[in-house]
Amino acid sequence: MRRSHYYALGLLAVAVILVSAILLNPNSDFSGTDDGGGEVIGEVDPDYQPWFQSVWEPSGELQTLFFTLQAAIGALVIGYFLGSNKVRRERGEG
């Protein structure tokens, strides 16, 4: 098997794992584990009151924006690296 076939197989496995998560839970809203942890805290210690609030809480739309920004910053660096590698190779420096 060629190397690219292994890569494709790996990516396929990633897709299967993520898609099966959705298929196995058709009615789930996939809330975050942070909130799930908060719910357990409510069961373990119902009287607990958080003593400090987030300095600022973005709305759902803004949250999407900032998560995208976070991913974009990282992806930009990785993309730059991959691109510069390709150039090196083409120039025979790699």
Binding site: R3, Y6, Y7, G10, L11, A13, V14, I17, L18, S20, A21, I22, L24, N25, S28, F30, S31, G32, T33, D34, G36, G37, G38, E39, V40, I41, E43, V44, D45, Y48, P50, W51, F52, Q53, S54, V55, W56, E57, P58, Q63, F66, F67, T68, L69, Q70, A71, I73, G74, A75, L76, V77, I78, F81, N85, R89, G94
Partner: protein
Amino acid sequence: MHVMEGFLSWEWALFWTLVSAPFVVYGFLSIRKILQDDPAQRTMLALSGAFIFVMSSFKLPSVTGSSSHPTGTGFSTMFFGVGVTSVMSLIVLIFQALLLAHGGFTTMGANVFSMGVAGPFVAYLAFKAMTKGGVRTPIKVFITVFLAGMVTYITTAVQLALAYGLTNGSFADSLISFLAVFAVTQIPLGIVEGILFTIFIDYLERARPDLTEKAFPRRVKDEA
């Protein structure tokens, strides 16, 4: 893995901050030293931070019906160890606490400990042991990355069980409840993260052996 803002008593907040602080300070000094002495490593530092940014921005669905973040810390752990990874984690956790209300400043110490110290620490030990034992690169990368994320979430569960279960005597019960939320959800996501990094390291070893040499020394027979 984020302990939410205000959800740890100030005693625990202080405790985890004090435990994490030495690692972060050591990490800052290491980064400064790397940038001064070995500019070639700058690329790898940038990639380490970039992967933590990208991976921890994803909220992936898990078979448990909830979703969670990969940590992306395995890459940084393999190349730079715990100190540097704790600094990278601190940076992304500040970003998320400030702009996303994920985690918080009172729980920063606890979150840096789980994501930047405990997970990378266990993963790094495993990485070193597997290197010594001659484990093949793809398996080694997969296990290291999986552990870095997994142990992070187990640590969060332990932190919450300590903070909430210890006082009313339900430590063991609450630990199981917290593990059910954090750790079980993370298993498939850890596998996903492990596969992605295994592919990237394989690519990197071929494309830029000069950069991977440090963590993945080439075997002599490969060079002959």
